[in-house]
């Protein structure tokens, strides 16, 4: 089933349009936007602030209804009322968005709990497995979020997103608040998880280097549309060494060129 959808794209956005009114002034945020995301790929949405990246992500998530156009997931129409959402996708927010009154472990178990299945052993094992997998030591499991550093909170947030085995992971500038070292560590974690779990990722970022490092495709947004899509391929495997290679610099230059050009257009 996924194979047939693969050619079309697991996620398809067709002619998406949405506008918001601020103080009586209507502003088109997305205009006739088309985007295909193939299964098991990582796609980054890159663009200047206010270009509609986050809005697009929220539309794909089914959190916002577009004024026009449609989203299909694996060939099926997708909307804010779709109930099969939890089986398909998870969302990782810019702030880790952990519930401050719950321990890290309880936070990670939350999605399973909301589905009424957190109490069985299998679910508990699943929670423990993901806590370990994202690199949170047992001593941190019973801490409250405010006792954790920013990086650890984000790890917990990723564990919570993955515990339901989503096929699609939507991430809205998840590492924006972290320093460079932490950011690159979490980039590696994300790459590892995405490939191990065969997860399709749509990743919103401001950071060009991060987009180049992570993505199979970078979609550059401008004026409410996808201005350009750049496929990224490396011969080397994606490790920290990659960042120093000419190929990496090449892509970096290419992407920033386009970004700069589209920014001038607006």
């Amino acid at each position: 089933m996924i194979a047939s959808a693969n050619e079309l794209g697991l996620i398809q956005c067709n002619g998406i349009g949405i506008s918001f009114s601020t103080r009586g002034q209507k502003r088109d945020v997305l205009k006739q936007l088309n985007l295909n995301v193939s299964a098991n790929k990582i796609v980054s949405l890159l663009g200047p602030s206010g270009c509609g990246k986050s809005t697009l992500l929220r539309i794909i998530a089914g959190l916002v209804s577009p004024d026009s156009g449609s989203v299909t997931i694996d060939g099926a129409e997708w909307s804010t009322t779709t109930t099969s959402k939890p089986e398909w996708m998870s969302f990782v927010f810019q702030e880790a968005a952990l519930l401050p009154w719950r321990t890290v472990r309880e936070n990670v178990a939350l999605p399973l709990e909301l589905r009424g299945g957190a109490s069985n052993d299998q679910s508990q094992d699943q929670v423990s497995r993901w806590l370990e997998h994202v690199g949170l030591g047992k001593s941190d499991w019973n801490k409250k979020p405010n006792q954790l550093s920013g990086g650890m909170k984000m790890r917990a947030s990723i564990a919570r997103a993955m515990v339901t085995k989503p096929k699609i992971l939507l991430m809205d500038e998840p590492f924006a608040a972290l320093d460079d070292v932490l950011r690159s560590r979490l980039n590696d974690l994300l790459l590892k998880i995405a490939s191990e779990e065969s997860c399709t990722v749509v990743f919103v970022t401001h950071n060009i280097a991060e987009a180049v490092y992570l993505s199979d495709t970078i979609a550059i947004m401008s004026r409410g549309q996808i201005a350009e899509q750049i496929p990224i391929q490396f011969h080397e495997s994606r490790t920290n060494k990659l960042r120093g290679t000419p190929a990496f610099a090449n892509y970096f230059g290419q992407v920033s060129d386009i970004l700069f050009r589209t920014a001038l257009d607006t």
């Binding site: 929220r58 998530a61 089914g62 959190l63 109930t83 959402k85 939890p86 996708m89 998870s90 969302f91 927010f93 810019q94 702030e95 968005a97 519930l99 401050p100 009154w101 939350l110 999605p111 709990e113 909301l114 589905r115 409250k144 979020p145 405010n146 339901t164």
Partner: protein
């Protein structure tokens, strides 16, 4: 460190001594009659003489205020939960809750006594009515002003309305409930004392409010001032108690909602 802690105790004490000194001096200087203004020592003496009456009265008034506050916490939170579930309900009923805040409690206390009698439960009711508004308004705003990401997180999981209410809204509103309680606890004491004023000595018991009205009848100003001081101390005790409970509750709930002590 030691000296600064010492200063914290000594400085207010000095202020008190200076205040009492000026008070004592004024009474002597202007030759005031003790019905108008007794000397500080007279007040202390009166308090000592009536210590058991004052203690029992404080305990009774404390119970009335505490039960009134408890009732407004429970009823107020329930009203807030109903309010949080529908904008229409909120818009329709909010003016009437506001009415509870704006109606002078002195004006409705006699009515309540007429309806419910010269009893302890009427005093609790007066205390509840005067202290419920801050709870309703604070808890309602806590319930409806959710962190957007957290709300989206629950929506992504197709959480039910009840799950959102119990696992997200109510826990999120706990700090607001504690805040409401802190505002309300002073009001609850006022409500209890006002209630007792009206119950007066027709009632079967003696709270601080009843003591004040009775001593007023006897022109025993020193004892009246003593009872007023007891009222203030009672308010302080309730505030400390609420803060203590609040800190304990919030410790579990959020990051840094510590109370300045």
């Amino acid at each position: 460190m030691m000296t600064s802690r010492l200063v914290r105790w000594i400085a207010p004490l000095l202020v008190f001594l200076v205040f009492a000194g000026v008070w004592d001096f004024s009474v002597r200087w202007f030759d005031l009659h003790k019905v108008i203004l007794p000397k500080p020592l007279d007040v202390i003496q009166a308090m000592f003489q009536e210590r058991w009456i004052l203690l029992r009265g404080s305990w009774i008034t404390f119970q009335a205020a505490f039960l009134g506050l408890l009732a407004s916490a429970v009823i107020g939170s329930m009203i807030a939960i109903v309010f949080s579930q529908s904008r229409i309900v909120r818009v329709s009923f909010y003016p009437y809750v506001l009415f509870l805040q704006t109606v002078p409690i002195v004006a409705i206390a006699p009515l309540l006594i007429l309806w419910f009698g010269n009893e302890f439960k009427t005093v609790v009711l007066v205390s509840c009515i005067i202290s419920i508004f801050p709870i309703v308004s604070n808890v309602t705003s806590g319930l409806i002003s959710l962190n957007e990401n957290l709300r989206d997180l629950f929506r992504m999981q197709s959480a039910s309305r009840l799950q959102v209410l119990f696992k997200l809204c109510i826990p999120s509103a706990m700090p607001q409930l504690v805040l409401g309680l802190r505002i309300s606890c002073g009001l609850a004491v006022i409500g209890a004392i006002v209630g007792e004023f009206f119950v007066g000595d027709r009632g079967a018991y003696e709270g601080l409010g009843t003591i004040i009205t009775a001593r007023q009848g006897n022109l025993n100003t020193a004892a009246m001032i003593g009872a007023v001081i007891a009222c203030a101390l009672l308010g302080l005790v309730l505030l400390v108690l609420v803060n203590l409970i609040g800190t304990l509750v919030l410790k579990r709930w959020t990051k840094d909602v510590g109370f300045e002590s």
